[in-house]
Subunit: 432 residues, 2 copies
């Protein structure tokens, strides 16, 4: 008789961890993703700000699972889940039957019902997002260099980041350093150090998931870098030439959205009767399975999981990994005929965010770090968790080089996205 088939949708931290954790289990694993690479999302903001190249934080899922004999990788896009027939439908592969299904499709950015903002205020989830944002930021300085009208020049030199969670803080700090250090001497008509970086947050503090003390430290660090942090300010409109916050408008040509996430459409795939939270996450059972469907699990950012004191488990890599390996153990236990599994328990190993050169905050429970120590800690942790040895080396090399030279290794304007300003992209590849 053939071995049970575990189909995993999504090659992020949760899905990939589940796949690896099933290496020794008597199952066939099929991992389906519409991208060919696993992305180390915690460093994505560095691609968006020209510090790293896409290849350094991504690796082909195939090569990660190359030596896992019971694993198959399908590059395909899931369009539907058929719970009755126990099969998913891929755009290319058609029906893919499963005995056990693990949905680990993550989240995308949410505009709180204002999807029309997305064109002017792109979010940061994929490598394409990152290179598109990189292009916008670098082109803004180029347009400013060419602008004759000082008002327009200032608008091109104004960067608004919306949302002061880890991504927003990291983006704001990184853009500030790009302007103050990396680009400082590269232009003749403008002084990039005059660039305004504005971080807009609807809540009362930055990094709300952190203890108040560290939020204050992060805010102070951002302000030392010259970031204009504006709290308790709700965005009411994002346009090609301005951000509207309440009554006033900030004239700018570059907006980055880091304000909210929404789960990928797992709920829609599964059908109407599945309970979702406000962010579209599936409200799973204590074993991360879908109510009434013990053979279907939802893990990572697509799942609404409460930790022991009822708080939603944060959407960070460690949480996703823990859920992935937990589900693998549940599946293994079932096959071994073991009894009911312990409910999933999230182990909080802490919370990190970096602001800039020598500036970071780390909440490790009892231990709270800030400044240079936290920054080194952050760097070591991220190097350590990078997918493979080669990437670790090359990222370390780039970081050391940037630290010494203040340079950035990936200051490339390449196409693939269209410039949202009035002018055509200066580097429009198909032109002339």
């Amino acid at each position: 008789m053939s071995r049970p088939r575990v189909v995993i949708v999504g090659g992020g931290f949760a899905g990939l961890t589940a796949a690896k954790a099933l290496a020794k289990a008597p199952v066939d694993v099929v991992l389906v993703d519409r991208r060919n690479h696993h992305l180390f999302q915690p460093l994505l903001y560095q691609v968006a700000t020209a510090g790293l190249s896409p290849g350094q934080i991504a690796q082909p899922i195939r090569s990660i699972l190359r030596r896992q004999a019971n694993a198959t990788v399908l590059l395909d896009e899931v369009v539907r889940v058929d719970r009755a027939r126990k099969q998913i439908h891929g755009r290319n592969a058609g029906a893919i039957p499963y005995d056990v299904l693990i949905l680990a499709t993550g989240a995308t950015h949410a505009y709180f019902g204002h999807d029309e903002w997305s064109a002017n205020a792109p979010g940061l989830k994929t490598l394409e997002d990152a290179t598109a944002i990189r292009r916008r930021i670098l082109e803004a300085f180029e347009h400013a260099e060419l602008a004759a009208d000082p008002v327009q020049r200032e608008a091109f030199l104004t960067f608004v980041v919306i949302g002061a969670g880890p991504t927003g803080v990291e983006m704001a700090g990184s853009i500030a350093e790009l302007a103050r250090h990396t680009l400082a001497a590269d232009f003749r008509n403008i002084d990039p150090r005059q660039a305004r970086i504005i971080l807009v947050e609807a809540g009362p503090r930055v990094l709300p998931a952190m203890p108040a003390k560290l939020s204050d430290a992060a805010k102070a660090g951002l302000e030392r870098l010259g970031v204009d942090v504006r709290l308790n300010l709700a965005v009411t409109g994002c346009f090609a030439d301005r951000v509207e916050v309440g009554a006033d408008a900030i004239a700018c040509r570059t907006i980055i959205w880091a304000a909210g996430v929404r789960a990928s459409p797992v709920g829609a795939w599964l059908g109407g009767d599945i309970k979702l939270d406000r962010a579209g996450r599936v409200e799973v059972e204590s074993d991360l399975s879908v109510h009434g469907y013990p053979e279907i699990f939802v893990v990572g950012d697509a799942a609404h999981v409460a930790d022991k004191d009822g708080k939603q488990v944060p959407g960070i890599a460690p949480a996703a990994k823990q859920q992935g390996s937990y589900v693998a153990s549940v599946i293994a236990a079932r096959l071994a005929g073991a009894g009911h599994p312990e409910p999933f328990r999230y182990v909080d190993r802490g919370n990190l965010a970096t602001i800039g050169r020598g500036e970071a905050v780390a909440d490790l429970g009892r231990l709270q770090l800030k400044g240079t120590i936290a920054w080194w800690f952050w760097g070591m942790v991220h190097i350590f968790f990078l997918i493979d040895f080669h990437n670790r080396l090359s990222v370390m090399l780039d970081w050391i080089w940037s630290y010494v030279s203040f340079g950035r290794s990936a200051r490339l304007i390449t196409s693939g996205v269209s410039w949202s300003g009035d002018e055509p992209p200066p580097s429009k590849p198909d032109a002339g």
Copy 2:
């Protein structure tokens, strides 16, 4: 009185060398390019075959010229040259006046009057071209893995490279190694080693610019890698599903065009009375100026320059650099009131091409190398000429890693180009 203004169009090897060579001259240098980066084109094929990342072979022109006080960089696209008013017109900047103009806008691929082939047989000139080709190659294997129909699977596993100059040879060899080594173990339904790589050349031998002996060595090397080299075969049609060569058709889904180049439209900008050769290159005077316009120079791949025995100077980096620095010296001499300059003389320092791991050919005049020695020589030369120290380190790191692991560091399918097959791109970013 203000210093004479030297406007250089194009930040490739010729233009950038001219700009740097004018650092000490009593002139203002304005370098205009529609891209923000200088590209190390000799290694572009490695980006197209996932060996290197775009950031490793490109560097912002601004940062290269950062410390050159008399140089300004404009990211703009030239649409017209007004010889009478002595100004060029940029799409963004408008009129840019010049006292001396250096046109160094390079070349693009030519389809011999069959531009309709370009969609199915992309060429390799820009970073966008390279990532688009990388995407096609990697997606072809993914489609093959999913293909149920063996005929279709074989078509997806057939790669046709048209043109056996250095680029064609390097692409064919590199795709062969990608299939034979890097991807060998990554799939379950296909064996990438079964991929057919066909190199089609209209002429009687590969690397026609090389001595016959080295052409034979290169052909033998390609065949050892499993490349099917077909000489004296003219392509008569490129389609989404096949290449037509004379009477027969080769069923394939990936075609790479490396057969011909055409100069960028310098002739059109300058106006009708300028003498061009068949490839659209401007036939310049012995001092590389345009006949009747001593203040306008054309250098690099946009110029038709004959060496001492009347042969067209090859379109390679060393030739472009020599022309760039020659023109700078001519301009400096004129300003110094020195007499008529010596005509340009191309110094042939040799000719290199690499085929694959441990396989290259080098024609250094008296000395001709092949095999491993030539390969190491090729590697050292290319590392040495890479734009900056940081890139040298990171490229070396990747090469060493690839050499040891047979892996490639940039196996990314990212979007920005559309898949030309019937199916939608599996990784279509805006889908789902």
